[in-house]
Symmetry: C2
């Protein structure tokens, strides 16, 4: 008995390998946690050759960040609401939602772990941060084009992302909507020195 072959489209095999490998990584992270599996484990689980993984991604670290950025881009696209206030609030709410869920927390821990993972880890981390930073900069550029006064990208890292990350990592208090909105609104205010 001959099994029917699926219809082949151009690029179909490549896309299937990518999907199978991503799926294998997600499963292995859920089962074993970061740092507890190899490229060989991923390839076996995905039903592909080790060489297919190495050829396409180069290192385990690069594969892990590809999975992470794909997840983030898909589940948390950068908002485009038409106003800076709307964008910042929607973005902050998305970050709060992500980082308090298991997948988002895993991404945060991955980025931190890569920093101590040698040269391949640091390169993968930088690629991840550059890609997400590029997406975010698009949101700020749109605000500037509308004549608004957006904060710098690094201000968003320092005063919107970092407080939420540390509260989650330290377990110090929930990310309530009021708290999250206040972080966003703080970036809309241009501080002026002076006694009060």
């Amino acid at each position: 008995m001959v099994e029917q072959q699926p219809i082949r489209r151009p690029g179909g095999r490549s896309a299937r390998v990518r999907a199978a490998v991503h799926h294998a990584v997600t499963d292995l992270i859920a089962e074993r946690g970061h740092g507890n599996f190899t490229v060989g484990d991923v390839a076996t689980r995905a039903g592909v050759a080790d060489t297919s993984v190495y050829r396409r991604w180069g290192t385990l670290e690069a594969l892990l960040t590809d999975v992470a950025i794909t997840w983030l881009t898909t589940t948390s696209p950068i908002p485009d609401t038409g106003s800076l206030e709307g964008d910042l609030r929607a973005y902050a709410a998305g970050v709060a939602r992500d980082v308090t869920g298991p997948d988002g927390l895993a991404v945060l821990r991955l980025v931190i772990a890569l920093s101590t993972g040698g040269e391949a880890g640091v390169r993968a981390r930088d690629a991840f941060l550059a890609e997400r930073g590029r997406q975010l900069q698009g949101m700020l550029d749109r605000a500037r084009d509308r004549g608004e006064h957006p904060p710098e990208g690094l201000d968003i890292l320092d005063h919107l992302l970092a407080p939420m990350y540390v509260r989650v990592l330290f377990g110090t208090g929930p990310l309530t909507p009021d708290y999250v909105n206040a972080l966003a609104d703080r970036l809309l205010v241009r501080p002026r020195p002076g006694p009060d």
Copy 2:
């Protein structure tokens, strides 16, 4: 041949045990990293019985945070310069120095690791944060007593500590004196909404 006994002072043995155990923990962290040794390892290294460690500290997590808070309190006392600006700048500079050094980074990673370390970990982490928070609150209370307008303790966590922690954990950029001073000065400004 009879060796000469050291002179015993009241409380002397207890203090010696504490010092030996703290020293053993510091050595084991340097050699093996967090999470890779037990109370038994600490006791052996310190030349004391396991039961002495358990009786005094209860859990490995409580011992680790006792070592961390002792280190932090000794090497980085909370400043008392006579002005809020001076205190905040000195405090920020101390945090930047600590967190970019190996011991300070180890303390930061310990606090994060405790959050995933079960009930004993969370309890130890909360004790650590409460003690350091209490020290910091003293600095803010002194400013209020002088008639100054200090920020809330949580604002210091969110907008002074968190940005530095995340920059170190993510490896995104050095903590230059200008950057660190700007974080401190930002907390002196009371933001006012309004178009600009």
